[in-house]
């Protein structure tokens, strides 16, 4: 008996056959998905009826009973009281306001131009196939904000001497550290040392100028106090020294690169102060979707770097640094955004020295950004924790410094890992911008609310129509962001597997 089965050698290869019908194809799928068990069948029928009912109601409201044209409430009023379908005429009439707020109609091309620039640059970054990612990123994150700011406000910002000095101090520090990082310049060279000390002196003067107010000097059309002037001149001198060093040691293209921070600073100041003949539009005229985007995007842009710093701080082994970051993060995460906005609105101005006043929009952005940064920090910390210890050791064994290790090895991996979390935070932040109405800014939702309180449009169906319109716009943005993040996640995931 055993002998029969014990020895067996296949003689022919069995062909791969198609699966039997019944659990396959259209009917198979339907049966498996809808009518696998009696309970399933009942559920399917109930759900099916519910869906049909829901879809029918939505269609009825949004299309069949809806009013598409009209110039005031009369069009959308239903005879005999009751409420009819959607009042799309209302959306139609107020569309401009929903997008631009009360931005002057003649100047709306400026907003459109910014939107277009944003769309192009963002597409360049977001679509994986488009080349020149690096340049694009610089344009999007460095050039675009300044250009938009000038476009939307009209520019002609007045820089105080202190602000100017600060800009140049930062530029100077970047230049000097750039030059010092070159292998052929040792940081012990006397010129470098002088440059560094000049910067330190400049920074000290800046700090002092906050406490001591001394004299007022006008230099290059800017009003300086004596101390800020000192700081400004010191930073210029440091830049000059660094430039001299750079020129002596390297080729022309190289030193041009080294001087980029200074050139950028000069350009920045010029663009911000120059008169391009744009009519100034104060921020309290901004509103609608445009304002929503401004708050959300600047909040996002500010919260990401801040979140990274906080996350690194929270993982630091220096107890004080860690404690400070923990307290900061837990504080912001523990309170509702509304109270943060109230705080930004009522308390921030009290914190500032006399005479310094913050624009209302800026305050909202500060509040939103700090709030989002705390959440971002936690997301990024999750990413940092997920990086295996071996990566840190590998970098250490290669003698990279702490910041090199973080910047070149750890953060790129950690950030990639938490893209979904970051995008979720972005989505949360985008949705949260709707709260800025609390401090009197008319974002998309705010304008819609003002719209349906407008006596010319008051009908029972306008609020629902307006809110659903706003919901749809928000949904569109958030949903595409989340889909994009899923897409990116998949892409990055497969890119590394073999």
């Amino acid at each position: 008996m055993q002998e029969q089965v014990a020895r067996f050698v296949a003689t022919d290869e069995k062909p791969a056959l198609p699966p039997p019908p019944g659990d396959h194809g259209f009917f198979g799928t339907v049966r498996k998905n809808l009518f696998a068990t009696p309970i399933d069948s009942v559920l399917s029928i109930i759900a099916g009826i519910f869906i049909a009912w829901g879809v029918w109601n939505i269609l009825e409201w949004a299309i069949f009973d809806a009013v598409f044209t009209g110039s005031d409430r009369e069009a959308c009023l239903v005879e005999g009281g009751g409420h009819g379908g959607a009042c799309w005429a209302f959306i139609n009439a107020k569309f401009g306001q929903f997008i631009y707020g009360v931005y002057p109609i003649a100047e709306r091309w400026r907003v459109n131009l910014s939107f277009a620039l944003l769309a192009i640059l963002a597409a360049g970054i977001l679509i994986p196939k488009v080349p020149y990612k690096a340049i694009n990123a610089v344009l999007l994150f460095a050039v675009f904000p300044v250009v938009t700011l000038v476009l939307l406000t009209g520019g002609r910002f007045a820089f105080s001497g202190g602000e100017l000095a600060l800009v140049f101090l930062i530029a100077g520090a970047l230049t000097v550290s750039g030059v010092a990082a070159r292998p052929d310049v040792t940081s012990s060279r006397i010129e470098m040392r002088i440059a560094v000390w000049l910067l330190v002196a400049g920074a000290a003067a800046m700090l002092l100028s906050n406490v001591v107010s001394a004299g007022s000097v006008t230099f290059l059309d800017f009003r300086f106090s004596i101390l800020t002037l000192v700081a400004f001149l010191a930073s210029l001198a440091a830049v000059a020294l660094a430039a001299y060093m750079a020129i002596t040691v390297s080729a022309a293209t190289e030193w041009f690169k080294l001087l980029t921070p200074v050139i950028a600073a000069i350009l920045f100041v010029w663009v911000m102060t120059a008169n391009f003949g744009l009519r100034p539009v104060p921020t309290n005229l901004w509103g609608g979707l445009m304002l929503t985007l401004v708050v959300a995007l600047s909040g996002i842009a500010a919260s990401l770097p801040l979140g990274i710093l906080l996350a690194l701080g929270r993982r630091s082994d220096m107890p004080a640094v860690k404690l400070i970051c923990v307290v900061f993060i837990e504080f912001w995460r523990g309170v509702p955004l509304i109270t943060v906005l109230f705080m930004a609105n009522f308390m921030l101005p009290l914190f500032m020295p006399e005479g310094v006043s913050f624009n209302q929009l800026l305050r909202a952005v500060v509040g939103v950004a700090l709030f989002a940064a705390a959440y971002m920090a936690e997301v990024i910390r999750g990413g940092l924790q997920a990086i295996p210890k071996g990566q840190y050791e590998g970098a250490d064994a290669m003698a990279l410094t702490y910041w090199q290790k973080m910047r070149l090895v750890i953060l790129p991996q950690a950030l990639k890992l938490v893209i979904p979390g970051i995008v979720n935070t972005f989505i949360g932040l985008f949705k949260d911008t709707s709260l800025v109405y609390i401090i009197g800014l008319a974002d998309l939702l705010g304008t819609v609310r003002r719209g349906f309180n407008d006596p010319t449009w008051i009908t029972p169906s306008t609020p629902a129509t307006g809110l659903i319109f706003a919901a749809f716009v928000f949904w569109l943005f958030c949903f595409s962001m989340s889909r994009y993040s899923i897409f990116m996640e998949r892409r990055l995931d497969t890119g590394h597997k073999r």
Binding site: N284, G440, P455
Partner: protein, 315 residues
């Protein structure tokens, strides 16, 4: 110092209501108009001689005081009631009363209510953080009546809650009621009850401790009143410059430079009147009987006409 800052900046920053027809609202072109807005313009005219040099900050009830305290605005002309508390603990200084008001009630006609005393058990819509809210509580308590408060943060939401039937009664300043009625889907369905339950002197306010700026705002107000009293109007102000009446000559700075004393030009009053007209003109243009609000001068008539408006003498 505010005056210097304003001059240096080149514009006056004026806090106004986010939208109260007749007092401060935006027309279809986005231009601001209303009684409070004209006060902003008047001050701008006094300082710059140009009514357009105003930057308006629409403020909600919650935002208005912090905005002033925090230097975001130079003057608050936002139908704000002058109370002792605000004058003292909030650090405000009221420069005068540009509208004598009182709190009233509005109800739907079909309720058949004719007196506020019939309102026991009603649901009342009121804006939060206002003196109105406090008066309401006091009024019902003193008259031993119940009510259900519905307290919402922005006036336009209060109005729409009332209009949609969430409340039976809407309460706010009588002038505000007149304005709110215009915002109803059907203004004719609503009645303003006769009772006025409080004193609501509304006026422009500035920060305490800056007497010069306080004087500018205060005397702009009195200049408007005096101009009306003396019959100086937007139209005839040029001619009036030649007037022999010593009071008019003093008002228009023909005899003595009163402007200098408060840091303004000699012809500051001329600029004001040229820009916005006198108090009566402002009133009639924005809220008077020929406007949709149809408000009588009443208490806001000049003292000479039996009202309360009394311009301090310029001399």
């Amino acid at each position: 110092q505010t005056l210097d800052t304003v001059k240096e900046r080149g514009t006056l920053r004026c806090g106004v209501n986010t939208g109260l027809p007749g007092f401060a609202s935006q027309n279809d072109q986005g231009e601001w108009q209303g009684l409070d807005v004209d006060y902003c313009k008047a001050i701008a005219a006094a300082v710059f001689g140009d009514v357009s040099k105003v930057q308006y900050s629409p403020l909600s009830a919650v935002q208005r005081f912090p905005a002033l305290q925090n230097n975001e605005i130079d003057v608050l002309a936002r139908n704000t009631t002058w109370t002792m508390d605000r004058d003292t603990t909030l650090g405000l200084a009221f420069a005068g009363v540009n509208y004598y008001d009182g709190q009233g009630f509005m109800v739907k006609n079909d309720l058949g209510v004719t007196s506020a005393l019939e309102l026991s058990g009603a649901t009342v819509c009121v804006q939060s953080g206002t003196t109105t809210e406090l008066n309401l509580a006091d009024y019902f308590a003193t008259n031993n009546m119940d009510y259900n408060p519905v307290v919402i943060e922005s006036q336009s939401d209060v109005n729409s809650a009332y209009d949609s039937g969430r409340c039976d009664v809407l309460t706010t300043d009588a002038s505000g009621l007149a304005a709110s009625r215009l915002e109803m889907a059907n203004p004719d369905n609503h009645t303003i009850l006769p009772e006025i339950i409080s004193k609501e002197p509304l006026g422009p306010a500035v920060r305490q401790g800056d007497d010069q700026w306080f004087n500018v705002v205060k005397w702009t107000h009195y200049a408007l009143l005096n101009a009306e009293e003396l019959g100086v109007t937007q139209e005839n102000v040029e001619d009036m410059l030649k007037s022999e009446n010593p009071e008019i000559r003093r008002l228009l700075g023909q005899d003595k430079n009163y402007g200098e004393a408060i840091g303004l030009d000699q012809d500051w009053v001329v600029n004001i009147i040229k820009g916005v007209g006198n108090y009566g003109e402002i009133f009639e243009r924005n809220i008077g009987v020929n406007t949709p609000l149809k408000i009588q001068r009443g208490q806001n008539a000049l003292w000479t006409d039996g009202g309360l408006q009394y311009g301090m003498p310029i001399r």
